[in-house]
């Protein structure tokens, strides 16, 4: 029987040899007599596997599967018919095979020839198509997520999920890698229990498991291949029953490196084409994440820019306040308004700290009800919560952190529902300490950069207060100086007027009275002797001289004419006399004087004109002066112009010239007017005085 079978075998084998089908020849009992290479290939056996002479049950052990058994059973039950099984089935790793069976009874013992035909291509193609479709779907969705306007974190999570779903992962995580620090920081995760998240939020790239994963070609790491489990990640993998870790690193444009981890709990290998697709998808994922990160960065920069712009605007506003606030009070008020608006504080206050008196007094406050404001007016420095805030220096204080909740302040804060307090201490002015307090009723923290900026704003505040105080001091002393000068001018003028009046009224009239007495006396001596008459005549002429010089003195001190006749006739008279004395041509014209000006203004204009003419003769070497007097409205205007050699700026400040100019200017300012001088060497000098006229004199 053996011989017969063996004899026939080469014939059978030769007949079947041209096929690419897998041929297996067994006896009815199931003993394997022959198989060809194709058969081995279909079953993915290697050439080293030798099944000849083995029984089928033994082969089964080698995972040949129940398929052949089934075929044999079918042959045996259907007798001598040749039957074909055009079935395909999936059976473990043996994908799909077509089986045809033939019973050869002509030989003894009869043989079962099993023909395995690989019909897997179609099925595989179908599967491939399905997979490609899925891959395409993943790519599409990833692309959609990537370009969507969803928030950055959601985009990353969605893409992570797509990728993880594709490879059938249970746990998903993406890390950002800092190669310089050799650390990876968790960016997003899915499925990992919360309690592990904190532990794995930052991992070292030099952890043994991590190094191993890198070395393994970045694809799929079998859990049992990883080195000893010691790190936090390792412990987690055990607890979460992770069997495989799919890892990929992507560095899109060099700036950022990302690591994605997918933990798979199924203990099953991942098909080659899935891996291939995963690799490309992971690369895309890296790019997408980087794009998202860059957008984030851009967004952050933009926010930063916006904030900087706002800060800049605030600085501008503060600068404007500092330079334009007319008083310290206005400065403080406007600063408080601006700062509280900018930082969103509901209440704001500025306190002055007097350490020597252990006292804090409020300078100004905003948004604080009047009743509370009264309580805040004076506080002892030793109040512990206050002192604590002082120590915190520019820190935002959550209400519950403030110690010693006894005393006025905590009660007040509670009353006002204050949740956060910013207290900035700064020094300003002459060594005085101030505290700026901003209070927030919203229970949310103030951003750190805002705190920083607050400090710089407060520094400017301090500068502003200091500047204001210096200016106030300066203005005060300037004001004192001015009023002193005014009093000097005024007292000089009234002194002169007094003297002139005494000379004119008292002395002058006494002389006149005396003269009339002499006249009366002479009439009593009738007839008077010639020698008496001569003596009386001498007395009279001496009295006349006395009267003359008294009048001259009086007039030079204060022209009575100015009071009696007004500015225009007096000035005309003065100019007439002046040109008679000096080699100078003076053109005086006056218009609009239908009414007199107030006496003080007349005196001022008269004195300025006098001083100018004197200056012209003394310094200008001019040949001609034009004086124009105009009583306009709302100002009386006097302009005096000469054609002399002019005054240089240097000369204008020499004491001789300077004093005259200064006193003219001060006289004019004293009556509320404006004094202007324009001059250049060789171009003559022009003086212009404008004095506002009030009320009935206009």
């Amino acid at each position: 029987m053996d011989n017969n079978g063996n004899r026939l075998m080469p014939t059978v084998i030769k007949a079947l040899d041209h096929t690419s089908e897998g041929i297996l020849i067994i006896t009815l009992e199931g003993k394997i007599l022959y198989y060809n290479k194709a058969w081995l290939d279909i079953h993915a056996f290697g050439p080293e596997d030798d099944f000849r002479g083995m029984m089928l049950p033994d082969v089964e052990r080698k995972e040949l599967g129940p398929l052949i058994n089934e075929a044999r059973e079918a042959i045996l039950t259907t007798g001598s018919f040749t039957t074909q099984f055009p079935t395909t089935r999936r059976d473990g790793k043996f994908h799909v095979v077509g089986v045809g069976c033939t019973l050869i009874r002509e030989v003894d013992p009869p043989l079962v020839v099993i023909i395995l035909k690989e019909v897997t291509e179609l099925v595989q193609a179908q599967e491939k198509l399905e997979r490609r479709n899925r891959e395409l779907g993943v790519i599409n969705e990833m692309h959609a997520a990537m370009t969507s306007s969803l928030s950055r974190n959601i985009v990353i999570r969605r893409m992570l999920k797509l990728l993880g779903d594709y490879i059938g992962a249970t746990y998903y995580a993406v890390y950002r890698v800092d190669m310089r620090a050799r650390r990876a920081t968790l960016r997003a995760s899915i499925g990992i229990p919360r309690k592990y998240l904190k532990r794995i939020s930052s991992v070292s790239l030099d952890a043994p498991a991590m190094l191993h994963m890198f070395r393994s070609g970045n694809i799929c790491v079998l859990e049992q291949d990883l080195p000893h489990h010691r790190g936090r990640l390792d412990e987690m993998r055990v607890v979460l029953n992770i069997k495989r870790t799919i890892i990929s690193a992507s560095s899109a444009r060099g700036n950022y490196n990302y690591l994605t981890f997918f933990g798979v709990t199924r203990d099953e290998d991942i098909p080659a084409d899935v891996r291939t697709f995963y690799q490309t998808a992971a690369h895309d994922f890296g790019i997408a994440v980087e794009r998202v990160e860059l957008l984030d960065e851009l967004d952050r920069r933009q926010r930063e820019l916006k904030r900087r712009n706002e800060e800049l605007a605030l600085i501008g506003e503060i600068y404007e306040i500092i330079t334009t606030a007319p008083t310290r009070k206005a400065l403080v008020r406007r600063m408080l308004e601006t700062l509280s608006t900018f930082f969103g504080a509901e209440m704001a206050g500025l306190f002055e700290i007097d350490r020597s008196q252990d006292l804090v007094t409020v300078v100004d406050s905003l948004g604080v009800p009047p009743g509370v404001r009264r309580k805040l007016r004076r506080l002892p420095m030793s109040n512990r919560s206050f002192a604590w805030m002082v120590r915190q220096r520019g820190v935002v204080v959550p209400e519950e952190d403030i110690p010693d909740r006894i005393g006025d302040l905590p009660v007040i804060r509670k009353e006002l529902r204050i949740k956060r307090t910013v207290a900035c201490i700064f020094e300003a002015g002459t060594g005085r300490d101030y505290q700026l307090v901003l209070c927030f009723t919203k229970d949310e923290d103030v951003k750190p950069e805002v705190r920083l900026f607050l400090e710089s704003a407060v520094k400017r505040f301090a500068l502003g207060i200091e500047r204001r105080e210096l200016l106030d001091g300066l203005r005060k002393s300037q004001g004192e100086l001015e009023s002193l000068t005014m009093r000097l001018i005024d007292s000089g003028e009234s002194e002169k007027r007094n003297l002139a009046r005494i000379l004119h009224d008292d002395v002058g009239q006494l002389i006149t009275g005396l003269r009339y007495e002499i006249d009366g006396f002479e009439k009593m001596l009738v007839p008077a002797s010639s020698c008496v008459r001569k003596s009386l005549e001498a007395m009279r002429s001496q009295l006349r001289l006395m009267s003359d010089s008294t009048r001259k003195l009086s007039r030079s001190l204060h022209p009575a004419m100015l009071g009696e006749l007004g500015l225009v006739p007096t000035l005309t008279w003065y100019v007439d006399n002046f040109v008679r004395r000096e080699a100078l041509e003076v053109d005086l014209q006056a218009v609009g004087f239908d009414k007199r000006l107030p006496h003080a203004m007349e005196v001022t204009l008269y004195r300025v004109a006098q001083e100018c003419l004197t200056n012209v003769v003394r310094h200008a070497r001019a040949s001609r002066v034009t004086i124009k007097l105009t009583k306009g409205y709302p100002c009386a205007i006097m302009s005096i112009e000469d054609n002399g050699r002019g005054i240089s700026n240097k000369k204008r400040n020499t004491p001789a010239q300077g004093l005259g100019l200064v006193s003219m200017r001060e006289r004019v300012q004293y009556v509320g007017g404006r004094f202007e001088i324009k001059s250049a060497p060789g171009k003559g000098t022009r003086i212009r005085v404008e004095i506002p006229i009030k009320g009935s004199h206009a």
Binding site: G513, R515, Y516, T570, A590, D594, P634, I637
Partner: protein, 217 residues
């Protein structure tokens, strides 16, 4: 006996008044009253109707020149003689302008006062012999030469203000905005100014304003 000349004395210094009075009394002159200030003088003269008022210039409350102006205006028949310490021609001219008939400086011999009183009673104008000859003539020439009042004085306060703005280069709407009045009002004022000054274009107004020193070139 010819009727006595009734004289009223206005002088704030008692010593002068008392020196004068005996010198005038007699010689056909009777001093019918005295006053120490301008206001009192105007009141009393209105009641007493003297022939001649002898008036000082420097007086309290109301100056002598203004008091003389009021007296002459109220009763043109009353002759006022200024007797004053001021010898500058402007005083003389202003006094004459006010309607005064005589002007004497206190330095002059007293007899001159009597001469002056008689002169004005005859209807003459008498000036102190101290004054240079021709003073009266030069005053008359000045009066004849014309207006002591300039065109600009005819402008109202508002018109002066608007002329100033025109000269400073503002347009009518701008001036209206500055002064819170309507453009139409500004235009009306502008027309009035032009009529009063006899100038008929803006450039002319500006030239005029520069000429009188309202604005600078």
């Amino acid at each position: 006996m010819p009727e006595q000349i009734r004289v009223f004395l206005v002088e704030d210094h008692t010593i002068v008044r008392e020196g004068l009075r005996p010198l005038l009394e007699g010689k056909g002159i009777r001093v019918i009253g005295e006053a120490g200030d301008g206001l009192q003088a105007v009141r009393m003269v209105r009641d007493l109707k003297p022939d001649v008022v002898i008036m000082d210039i420097g007086l309290p409350h109301l100056g002598g020149i203004e008091a003389a102006r009021r007296i002459v205006k109220a009763s043109p028949g009353i002759r006022v003689i200024m007797l004053t310490i001021h010898d500058e021609p402007p005083f003389v001219f202003k006094s004459l302008e006010a309607g005064v008939k005589g002007y004497l400086v206190k330095d002059a011999p007293l007899d001159e006062l009597l001469v002056a009183i008689r002169a004005v009673m005859k209807g003459d104008t008498y000036l102190s012999s101290n004054f240079p000859r021709g003073l009266l003539e030069s005053y008359e020439r000045m009066v004849k030469r014309g207006k002591s009042v300039d065109d600009f004085s005819h402008l109202t306060r508002r018109e002066r203000e608007i002329l100033q703005h025109i000269a400073e280069g503002y347009t009518s709407p701008q001036i209206a905005g500055i002064l819170y009045i309507s453009k139409k009002t500004v235009e009306n004022h502008r027309a009035n100014i032009m009529a009063k000054l006899n100038i008929h274009d803006t450039a002319g107004l500006v030239r005029y304003a520069i000429k009188i020193g309202l604005v600078e070139t």
